[in-house]
Amino acid sequence: MNSKKIIGFYGYPPRAFTETIRCKYPFHEWIDLDVDLGSPESEILPDNYCRILRNIMDNAVFLKDRIDLIVTSTGSEKCDGGRFLSHLLSQIGFNVVDTRNDSFENTEFPALIDVPISKSSLPLDKKIELIMDTVLDDSSCEYEETQPTCGFWGVPPHDFELLKLFPDTAHVYGWTRCVEAERPADINLECYVDPGVPTVFFVQSFCAKSQLARWLAAKYGGLFVDVDGTIGMGTRAKIDAFLELNKAK
């Protein structure tokens, strides 16, 4: 079993801060606690609660012996759940340091923001993996841009199988695009989609972003999809049908 010491983090802490911590702990492994790592249920958070926040708690508790520090994200770039979670983690005994990453103006021209990975021709799950990698490291590659035949709006899902339903011509919108643009609390960019591009507005169940997703889906004629945990047959069929009936793949 890997015994390397860990810095855990969630959300999108400011890069300047994570770089400082990396200098202080140069040999530690950084783990994004938002992601489904297959950790057992810690049974601390309610069952009917955001799956991503539950991942954070479950992963932290499971990896507790190896975690030296958790860098949290507690500003409007994350959510109130992230802020409360930070408090609980410190109560449990973790060494927690809080950050915020929302000290900038919302963009007035979201269409002009440079997001090459979001617009690339890579498979959608790969796009989102690469975008989330940019939380800690800049992307050094160049990407071939593709015309969007459809869009995925939202946060990285708990279940990446959902992303495999989309063609490589899907563009990324919402919070994930904001991450690539290094503007994780920019609500104007988060609410931007290309008009006319059939878009799936995805949220994890119980997430506060549900209100945005439902509103935007109605505004742009997209598909609102709410998933708790793993993707079921019904959701899979809805997305498949939406993409096919819109000739998106």
């Binding site: 019904g234 809805k238 049908a241």
Partner: protein, 227 residues
């Protein structure tokens, strides 16, 4: 070519050589391991055919084909699920597929009907309804009503009305919509739901009609060939 809509309770089979539609209980299809189809939709469609087509796509395409209406809302009430497709100006506006709640599924009505040996074709609809927030809770309310002295027929008609009311709510209370599936043949249900909206029954073969159209599209056929 033999097409099938393999639902939870019933399998609808269309033989394209003579256009004959037959309906058999799905448990008979499941029992017969050698029974397969050229193309299928429905819950068991993947297991029983080389070509499988998404139910929502079949429902959408079938409704467009039958109605020639590109502004529509259609609800398909299956044994264990409710599917909804809404189109505006020929484009999908809403797609929904509820697979987890018995408050508006055909199987719930079937259980009650079989238990009390009810003939829904002659059961008189009633204005009162049982609030069927959940299939099981709704059935409990039927028992409660009967215990309190209401006749079986009235208690069950109230239950049917409650389910019909739920189906109308699923449509966001549309004034007019199409209905697909076996419940279109349930007179008590149809008379109950007509209290709320103009409901145009499309019968039990809407998904098969959509599957037929999809199979005529060679590109679609290639895409859905299962290796």
């Amino acid at each position: 070519m033999i097409l099938a809509d393999c639902g939870t309770s019933y399998t609808k089979i269309l033989d394209l050589s003579d256009g004959k539609l037959s309906i058999v209980e799905t448990r008979q299809v499941v029992k017969n391991e050698n029974r397969t189809f050229d193309a299928a939709t429905g819950h068991l469609g993947r297991l029983k055919s080389r070509l499988y087509k998404n139910e929502l796509v079949c429902l959408a395409v079938g409704t467009l084909e039958i109605t020639h209406d590109d502004n529509f809302c259609v609800v398909d009430i299956g044994g264990r699920d409710t599917k909804l497709v809404e189109f505006k100006n020929g484009k999908p506006l809403r797609l929904d597929w509820n697979m987890a709640c018995g408050a508006n599924t055909g199987f719930t009505l079937e259980i009650v009907g079989r238990y009390y040996d009810v003939d829904y074709s002659i059961l008189k609809p009633v204005d009162e309804y049982i609030d069927v927030t959940c299939g099981v809770f709704g059935i409990e309310r039927v028992f409660d009503a009967i215990i309190s002295g209401v006749t079986e027929d009235i208690a069950i008609a109230r239950f049917v009305h409650g389910v019909a009311r739920n189906v109308h709510r699923v449509t966001d209370r549309k004034e007019r919509f199409y209905l697909s599936g076996g419940l279109t043949e349930n007179a008590c249900f149809m008379n109950s739901i007509l209290k709320y909206a103009e409901v145009v029954p499309l019968g039990r073969a809407v998904l098969l009609e959509g599957l037929k159209i999809a199979m005529q599209d060679q590109d679609v056929m290639k895409r859905f060939i299962m290796n």
